[in-house]
């Protein structure tokens, strides 16, 4: 194995073993390089790689630190992966979302707070009845994020965040939105919110499924 890969494994090992806790500061590059028995150049490659997947956080002029290791942070790198995919695979990503999002929405029905619900309602009201596509896309993102967050599972939350990234979203809303996509989206959002207010998990799940399915339809249409 290459020295750089070894270094990656060793640093990972130090974190897993607890020698390096979240937020901890690493020895400076030259010291760590000596400690691990490689050159600073090669060590930097390892550090850079771990930094891309948000395990390490390097701050110029300061030092290198272990991140919080929040799943939210780590799975953020997922959208990078999704970005790299093209039409056919995008549908598979959406299929996964179609499984997760209804489950998350159902979970939220019993766990989301009234304050969070009020915030979502306010947000929908502010959007009005005929928003621009850009506004709607942004609101859509916030809406789903708000609900999923209400599920109380941060891993689920960040996974969906990644799956709903720009790649998918742009694709769904690209080109002329046929028929009444905007109106339909708004109606579905309201229906989901109503189900959550009723604390009706099954209705929430069903509406979420419908919502994703209609999104899937539109995605298919652009292929």
């Amino acid at each position: 194995m290459a020295v750089t890969d070894e270094a990656i494994e060793k640093i990972k090992g130090m974190i897993v073993s607890g020698a390096l806790r979240p937020g901890a500061r690493l020895p400076k590059e030259s010291e760590l390089a000596a400690e691990l028995g490689l050159s600073r150049n090669s060590l930097r490659e390892a550090v850079r790689a771990l930094s891309l997947i948000r395990v390490l956080d390097v701050r110029q002029g300061d030092g290198t630190y272990v991140t919080s290791l929040d799943p939210q942070l780590l799975l953020g790198a997922l959208s990078f992966v999704v970005d790299l995919h093209r039409d056919d695979t995008l549908l598979e990503f959406l299929a996964v979302r179609r499984i997760l999002e209804p489950a998350a929405t159902a979970a939220a029905a019993t766990r989301i707070s009234d304050e969070q619900l009020d915030a979502l309602a306010r947000q929908l009201d502010e959007l009005g009845d005929e928003p621009s596509v850009e506004d709607l896309v942004a609101a859509d993102l916030d809406f789903h994020r708000g609900i999923v967050r209400g599920s109380g599972n941060s891993v689920l939350c960040s996974l969906l965040e990644g799956l709903s990234g720009p790649a998918t979203r742009d694709r769904v809303w690209r080109g002329p939105t046929r028929e009444d996509a905007v109106g339909r989206t708004l109606r579905e959002h309201r229906a989901i919110l109503a189900a959550l207010r009723d604390r009706d998990a099954e209705a929430a799940r069903a509406w979420a499924t419908v919502h994703i399915a209609s999104m899937e339809q539109r995605l298919r249409a652009t292929l």
Copy 2:
């Protein structure tokens, strides 16, 4: 933004735009470095980072290539992320698996081939009634992999692969397996297989849920 980060974005851009197709070979390091306007050292950091998340494949003495970009490959890095987490978050990862795996199993009920079913059955038979824990763990991994693969969604497949990685698995089977964990696992596997043979999606989903839940129970017990 640092030059290395720029380079990462540019390479990613070249792939997304189609300038670099899967399997394509990159210009040699010195040329690409010149092209992107940075030193070979800094470029190498970018390449190494992309190679960690399996976007690039570098072969010493040969060249650097874009990988197949299979979701399977890219999400493989996910297990790296899961490895870095500790007890509390592990439960959240398992909760996600509890959503995905039943759905995947239900999908497999209608899509998996008879040959694949036969292979799973053979494997269960070979294991016998009182396997060692090591053998069981390996068989368990294969069993779930085989089913999820039968769902026909490669993204789902690799996502679950990552979630079921060594970190979770070791934790579940660590320590004295209380009660009849081995026997119970075997019985549940047989039940899942029977449901698949019957092409009964709902039964398959239910048994998969039961199976993951019992795994979750054991994980909680070790915390």
